[in-house]
Symmetry: C2
Subunit: 218 residues, 2 copies
DNA sequence: GCTCTAATTATGCAAGCGTATAAATACTCC
DNA sequence: GGAGTATTTATACGCTTGCATAATTAGAGC
């Protein structure tokens, strides 16, 4: 009935921010489902309901889009962990516990996040720009952790000099990362909350304090 | 003088084992240098001084070659860690310490290994075959670790029931993985041996024992 | 030294990739 | 409501990729 051939796709103009977010979200979907190799320009565009050319309008090159997506993932995880702190009790030990538990449970401990993370990490060695992006993210996370550790130690009446807390931050960061990895890779072989419990117990042992606020909680 | 155009490449026939090893080694070089994306059939072939067609003669598909390379990396790291045990003292605590130290030093803690590992891990989620390959490797590592832990606890006169050692193995595995990660990603911001020391100290705290053999060693 | 075969090379193809660029269109402002 | 512009689509190009297949050749066995 309609004799006109191949009608042109209709579209709406969106704000720059919205479009960038959508494209990044579409990229993350692709990576999560089919790995970094599955995140082609065409696939991303289709997922964002947009034609491939538009990607280049917002991101000069595909690598720029990938880099932006990486930063978005890391930022999202950081924000989610920080959110857990907002709702935590006042006692520094409880706060450290909440931080650890948040990082070792949904939605942060998720296979999708691992796929994304690993895909990007594999590029770090080859791409200097991505290397520095990662470097910053790592130190930021460890610094935040070190502050929590220092305050928890003080609350427990323990010394908290920097050379101690630095070492502790390195070790505890490793515990969190390692358990996160285990959980993402094979969450099905662990009981619910087992990894968070294990992590808290290990951290208590390393610090030599209990993370349960003493003298009864609220 | 020589009018024949484009002389054909001369070659030697090699044994099947040698060729497979060479191709895997070439694959690992490519991945290490330029990431998984840089490991193209042509590049691998060139690095192995062979024409691309030969790869298909030994590996039905490129994914098979990649999978074989992954298993080779994991196997190599496992062997290197086990070697350290051969040269360790008899005391189980020393052996555990040697195991940890070996995993957190050269040549296991190397950025190249991380790139390889991460590149493969990113595929785990999408490729079931690779998922099972990884699953086996992970459990193998953790089982070996659990044995070392049990014997170290016994040597220190501590209880070592399975439900305890399982938890300890999970936590200590995380410590090793996490520190390995940190070291591979940013080895330059740590002193020599700092991560191994940190790891041993953290593990001692978790187990509640010293890993230095008591009563003076040889 | 000839023969036979398995190992290796050479060539080519179809598909998918990232990117460039020109044409079309939705929205803004007057 | 008409003109102008920033956004979006459409199209195409040049490359690279993995894979197939036919032609060659090194080396083993007699």
């Amino acid at each position: 009935m309609n004799a006109q051939s191949a009608t042109r796709k209709t579209f709406r103009r969106e704000g720059e921010d919205k479009r960038r977010e959508d494209l990044i979200a579409a990229t993350l979907e692709c990576v999560a489902e089919r790995g970094l190799a599955g995140a082609t320009v065409r696939e991303i565009a289709q997922r964002a309901d947009v034609t491939p050319g538009l990607i280049r309008y917002y991101f000069p090159t595909k690598d720029d889009l990938i880099g932006a997506a990486y930063r978005a993932v890391m930022n999202r995880m950081t924000v989610q962990a920080s959110d857990a702190l907002q709702n935590a009790a006042d006692d520094p030990r409880s706060r450290l516990q909440a931080f650890v538990t948040a990082n070792l449970g949904e939605p942060i401990m998720d296979p999708h996040n691992l796929s994304l993370w690993a895909g990007f990490i594999a590029l770090v060695h080859a791409d200097p720009a991505m290397a520095s992006a990662h470097h910053d993210g790592y130190l930021g996370f460890r610094d935040e952790l070190e502050i929590l550790i220092r305050e928890a130690l003080r609350a427990a009446g323990k010394p908290a000099e920097h050379n101690h807390t630095r070492r502790h931050a390195i070790a505890i960061n490793a515990i969190i990362d390692g358990l996160w990895l285990e959980g993402c890779l094979a969450g099905d072989i662990f009981d619910d909350g087992e990894l968070a419990e294990t992590g808290v117990a290990a951290i208590e042992a390393v610090l030599g304090i209990s993370l349960q606020a003493e003298g009864g909680a609220q």
